[in-house]
């Protein structure tokens, strides 16, 4: 009998405590997962991370010559930089547009990202999927005449990313690149207008402000002679206003169609170049 009384008293106490304060419940337990990656790009590879509506990202991307030049070229820095200046804007939370200019070949590129799926906290949607399109125009003066059509290059990529836990995110991105013109400099050279690739990207978050990321972009199927698979390892630092990315990368470019078809250094040889990106987001709304 004593037991019954104690049980009733415990019940009573429990009820009065639970009535004292409401249970705290998350408003949107099935909401979208935030910050799968820190920015829209790792070194050169695009990510499923998009800008929010009204956000403008200005980005400066640099890299130098390869480090094998040693002290004579100050590990590539003396060989001059390849620089891409780019702006991207969030038209909506799911559609971003962008424009960039790369100093090599004076390539001007236009891009669009469209998010098809957004990973949710409950895992009802386990991945984020973003369709990426980019087309570039090689605008530099050539020794040989090129029509506007012949100057165009394209990229289509389907980026599939997942944040596995607070510390680790991973992405694969099958992609296709196409160049209207490929220039043969050696008669034995194998050239293809269309090249396929499968990008891999990952992020290990050290803390809220720092992470280590990587990207690897092997060519799938036929490749242009003497090209290698691009890879990069990146240290990312979010300062509140800026995201700085410092990296070693094998590719010379920051547009994936060029990384697939123009990378001539093998990261694992090892041979790579130093580079860095500076991102700054402005809220325009």
């Amino acid at each position: 009998m004593k037991k019954t009384v104690s049980t009733l008293l415990i019940m009573f106490l429990t009820i009065s405590i639970s009535e004292a304060q409401m249970e705290r419940k998350r408003a949107n337990p099935d909401g979208p997962v935030d910050e799968i990656f820190l920015t829209k790009n790792i070194a050169g590879l695009g990510t499923v991370q998009l800008l929010g509506k009204g956000d403008l990202n200005s980005m400066i991307q640099h890299n130098f010559g390869d480090v094998r030049g040693g002290i004579d070229t100050f590990f590539g820095v003396d060989e001059g930089a390849n620089v891409r200046i780019a702006f991207a804007y969030g038209l909506t939370d799911d559609i971003n547009i962008g424009i960039g200019r790369t100093s090599r070949e004076d390539n001007i590129d236009f891009g669009i990202d469209y998010r098809l799926l957004h990973q949710t906290k409950s895992d009802k949607i386990p991945v984020s999927v973003v369709l990426k399109g980019n087309f570039g125009i090689r605008t530099q003066k050539e020794a040989f005449p090129l029509t506007f059509q012949e100057r165009l290059n394209y990229l289509g990529s389907l980026m599939i990313g997942r944040k596995f836990n607070d510390s680790f995110s991973f992405q694969i991105s099958p992609m296709i690149s196409h160049f209207n013109t490929v220039v043969q400099t050696d008669p034995n050279e194998e050239l293809y207008n269309t090249v396929y690739g499968l990008g891999f990207a990952g992020r290990f978050k050290i803390n809220a402000r720092k992470s280590i990321s990587f990207e690897y972009l092997p060519v799938i199927g036929k490749r242009i002679s003497d090209t290698k698979n691009h890879a990069a390892i990146v240290y990312e630092l979010e300062t509140g206003g800026h995201v700085f990315q410092m990296f070693f990368m094998s590719g010379r470019w920051f547009t994936e169609q060029h990384l697939l078809t123009r990378t001539e250094t093998n990261f694992f040889e090892p041979n790579f170049r130093f580079g860095f990106n500076v991102n700054r987001v402005f809220g325009l709304l």
Binding site: L8, D34, K53, G54, A208, V281
Partner: protein, 181 residues
């Protein structure tokens, strides 16, 4: 012994049915106003959850901080980082009405509540002035107070290198519906 059980049951029964003076909402509005020299912005959440029990005089409110929308993705992200919302998802207040309120009147009445406000894992005892008004639809609540970020160990974020004012004005506005007893 049977008597004891019966009285306990009676107490329990009496307790659980004594809820006619309770009011609740899950769609209240909470707004904070941030000031930076030459610039100001606000963050709004319309998922403020509140429970007021006039019998016991208790006032219980909380919001999920990730629902605060400043109208700008970059700013929202910075705010979540500053408030560490993954670790501390809620801002919450639990306290008691310390002034009189006449539930029979339909007038707007000034009230004072005293209790604990918790955000960013830090608690402070605060006193808040507000109004209560009994309407046909329920109990209408408004309140406002100044929250000092440093009191809660929140580092004021920067907007273009200029620090956001450490004092943030908070306002709530909610219509709480009666809970059926």
């Amino acid at each position: 012994m049977k008597k004891i059980i019966l009285s306990t049951l009676f107490l329990l029964f009496g307790f659980s049915t004594g809820f006619t003076q309770s009011f609740k909402t899950e769609t209240g509005k909470a707004t904070f106003y941030s000031k930076v020299p030459l610039h100001s912005f606000e963050g709004v959440s319309e998922t403020l959850v509140g429970l007021i029990d006039l019998d016991k005089g208790t006032v219980d409110f909380y919001i999920d901080l990730e629902t605060l929308d400043t109208g700008n993705g970059k700013r929202d992200k910075d705010m979540k980082l500053t408030l560490e919302t993954e670790k501390y998802p809620f801002a919450e207040f639990f306290g008691k009405l310390v002034s009189d309120f006449n539930a029979e009147s339909n007038d707007v009445q000034g009230v004072k509540v005293k209790g604990t406000f918790k955000i960013h894992g830090e608690e402070q005892e605060i006193e808040v002035d507000g109004t209560l008004q009994m309407t046909d639809e329920g109990l209408h609540v408004t309140a406002g107070w100044i929250l000092n970020l440093l009191d809660y160990k929140i580092k004021p974020p920067k907007v273009l290198f200029i620090k956001v004012d450490e004092n943030q004005e908070i306002k709530i506005d909610a219509l709480l519906k009666p809970i059926e007893g």
